[in-house]
């Protein structure tokens, strides 16, 4: 039993040190900056910072759909790049068949990218509203 405990400690002491170090580092950063840092007052200064979005208020907010569009496109292309990593570590083993497979994969991605740019999914600023709105698209 005792030996067991020693073995566990020997195996996991690094994690314990890590946890203590994390807490100590956080405490240090907050403590030192509260001691040394300047203070400013303002209407929104006491609100929590959440990636630029106001954390409290009505749930019926209007967001620009562009944020989600870009986030989605990023995720899609990012994940597909991950598939290419799998190819890159096995280029020699899979040979030409793998090459053509990857080429077709990249071509489909490229077709998707061309489509996205042509339908305006990548444009950040909305086009001038009048012609698009009038035709109802």
């Amino acid at each position: 039993m005792e030996q067991n405990a020693t073995a566990i400690i020997a195996e996991h002491w690094a994690i314990g040190v890590f946890i203590v170090a994390v807490i100590a580092l956080c405490a240090f950063m907050i403590g030192v900056s509260s001691l040394l840092g300047g203070r400013s007052q303002g209407r929104s200064k006491s609100l929590p910072f959440e990636s630029g979005i106001v954390g409290a208020g009505s749930a019926r907010q209007r967001f620009s759909v562009k944020f989600y569009m870009v986030a989605m496109l990023f995720v899609i292309f990012d994940i597909e790049a991950v598939f290419l990593f799998a190819w890159s570590v096995s280029v020699k083993e899979v040979g030409w068949a793998g090459f053509w497979g990857a080429a077709i994969f990249i071509f489909i991605l490229l077709a998707g990218l061309v489509y996205d740019s042509r339908v305006g999914a990548l444009e950040w600023a909305p086009k001038s509203r009048n012609p698009a709105r009038k035709s109802g698209s």
């Binding site: 068949a97 077709a111 998707g112 061309v114 489509y115 740019s117 042509r118 339908v119 109802g136 698209s137």
Partner: protein
């Protein structure tokens, strides 16, 4: 390793995917509604032709996909229903003010998903096919998003379908934890050798929930009427035909392939679900005043009948399921096609309330005749395709001595007859000066009209002379040794 035989067998799926990419690039290049529809239809037809070549080349099996006769049948059903839906969506989208072309892109992707699904023999392809089939459907259902009901149906399907997918995935994970295998045959064999146990039971149950949702089996049917009612005509048609047929075929494959599924409790559960589905679907259809909702409930009931084939699961079960699926698809495509044609070209919410159909016969006699034939076939009246399907199902039930199910089918058919006849009476009532939505005058000349008329003729032809289809089906579904 991929061989040329594998590539050959994959040709139909590859063709559909290539068509989707072509359509996408075409949209990026220039927006042309008619050309997009033409390319899509051409690609699907090519895939159908290549399917014949694949069929004559014989069975091919890869670790993930299997191209046997059952998957050929499934692919034919998916491709043919997609073709009919595409043709109807051309007429439907003519009047849609927004972007029309993406609808074809979504439908082609969904068709590719359906084809992968029917050929899957591995949980990975099963999940992949199911998601590829469902994801585009969210977009298709919410396609006319300025119409609140369409948006509602899209979001409803998205949320509920995601929940069902979570059930399916959890079930798969449990089964994997019990058997250590992901290919369906190996997984079920593993379960059998390990004796199943509570976790395997839970896994199978959860997977049944996931697939039952897509087929709208009764405890999981709540989404069906709302989604059918709100979605644009062609999307609802696709959901009711191609999507359901593909999911049913994969369920059929799992149940037929696996000896582990031939245990009494599972048959009892499936039998109970079937009975419940028939009765509840038909009873709820009685109180509908909207044709699309009514067709939705009737499709629930029809899948209750179809489940009988899974409950019996031997003898002629596969052939019966195939014949019933064919008759169901022909009839449902026809009925939804008429609804879509009456709502084409798009101008707001679909004309699906029953009062739109009041006196339809006096305005559009042929269209009313088509709808009448389809409703008669759904009710299972002799000399229509529906009768042949129902005959097979009843024969199968009697043969296996499942008297409760046979009783359920008979009771369901009687209830069904009442509400189908109610719609038919509406069609022939003299119009009291009120004009509902109407199809354009030259509907019969357009491709969508031709498809609907052809479907009605097929329904009658198959009802009168079913031998060719029955022969074809017995060839397609006979096991190869």
């Amino acid at each position: 390793m991929l061989t040329s035989a594998h590539m050959m067998a994959l040709t139909p799926v590859i063709l559909v995917c290539a068509t989707a990419v072509t359509v996408m690039l075409g949209i990026a290049w220039r927006r042309q509604h008619a050309a997009t529809a033409l390319v899509s239809i051409l690609g699907l037809n090519l895939a159908l032709v290549s399917l014949y070549l694949v069929y004559s080349a014989g069975d091919v099996s890869t670790p993930l996909l299997v191209f046997d006769r059952l998957s050929m049948l499934g692919m034919v059903l998916v491709l043919a229903s997609t073709l009919a839906c595409l043709t109807m969506s051309h007429a439907y989208l003519e009047g849609y003010p927004g972007r029309k072309e993406e609808f074809y892109l979504l439908m082609l992707c969904a068709a590719a998903g359906g084809m992968v699904l029917v050929a899957s023999q591995h949980l990975a392809t099963l999940f992949f096919g199911l998601e590829l089939l469902s994801m585009p459907l969210y977009g298709m259902l919410a396609y006319t998003y300025r119409d609140k009901r369409s948006l509602e149906s899209g979001i409803k399907y998205l949320v509920l379908s995601a929940a069902a997918t979570a059930f399916l995935l959890f079930g798969m994970a449990l089964l994997y934890s019990q058997s250590g295998r992901l290919d369906i045959a190996g997984l079920l064999a593993g379960l059998e050798s390990s004796g199943g146990g509570a976790w395997a039971l839970a896994g199978a149950g959860l997977m049944l929930v996931g697939l039952g949702f897509k087929l709208s089996i009764v405890p999981f049917h709540l989404w069906t009427p709302d989604v059918y009612q709100g979605g644009p005509g062609p999307a609802a048609t696709f959901l009711a035909t191609a999507s359901k047929a593909a999911v049913f075929i994969v369920l059929l494959r799992i149940v037929m392939v696996a000896p582990a599924f031939h245990v009494e409790w599972l048959h009892t559960v499936l039998g109970g679900l079937a009975l419940l589905t028939m009765i509840v679907g038909n009873l709820l259809a009685l109180i509908q005043t909207n044709l699309k909702r009514l067709l939705g409930y009737s499709s629930i009931a029809h899948f209750g009948y179809l489940l009988v084939a899974l409950v019996v699961a031997d003898g002629l079960a596969v052939e019966t399921a195939g014949i019933y699926l064919i008759t169901y698809l022909m009839t449902t495509l026809g009925a939804f096609g008429v609804v879509t044609l009456l709502s084409s070209p798009y101008s707001g919410e679909d004309a699906s309330a029953l009062h739109h159909y009041r006196g339809l016969f006096w305005r559009r006699p042929y269209l009313a005749a088509v709808l009448t034939v389809c409703l008669l076939s759904l009710a299972g009246i002799p000399f229509t395709a529906g009768f042949i399907g129902k005959f097979y199902i009843v024969a199968l039930g009697v043969e296996a001595g499942r008297w409760w199910l046979v009783g359920g089918i008979i009771a369901g058919s009687v209830i069904g007859l009442y509400y189908y006849l109610r719609v038919m009476v509406t069609l022939y009532l003299v119009e009291p000066g009120m004009r509902g939505r109407d199809a354009p005058d030259n509907w019969g000349m357009k491709a969508g009209g031709v498809v609907v008329l052809g479907l009605a003729l097929l329904v009658i032809a198959f009802g009168v002379y079913p031998t060719p289809v029955i022969d074809w089906m017995s060839v397609l579904t006979s096991p190869v040794h």
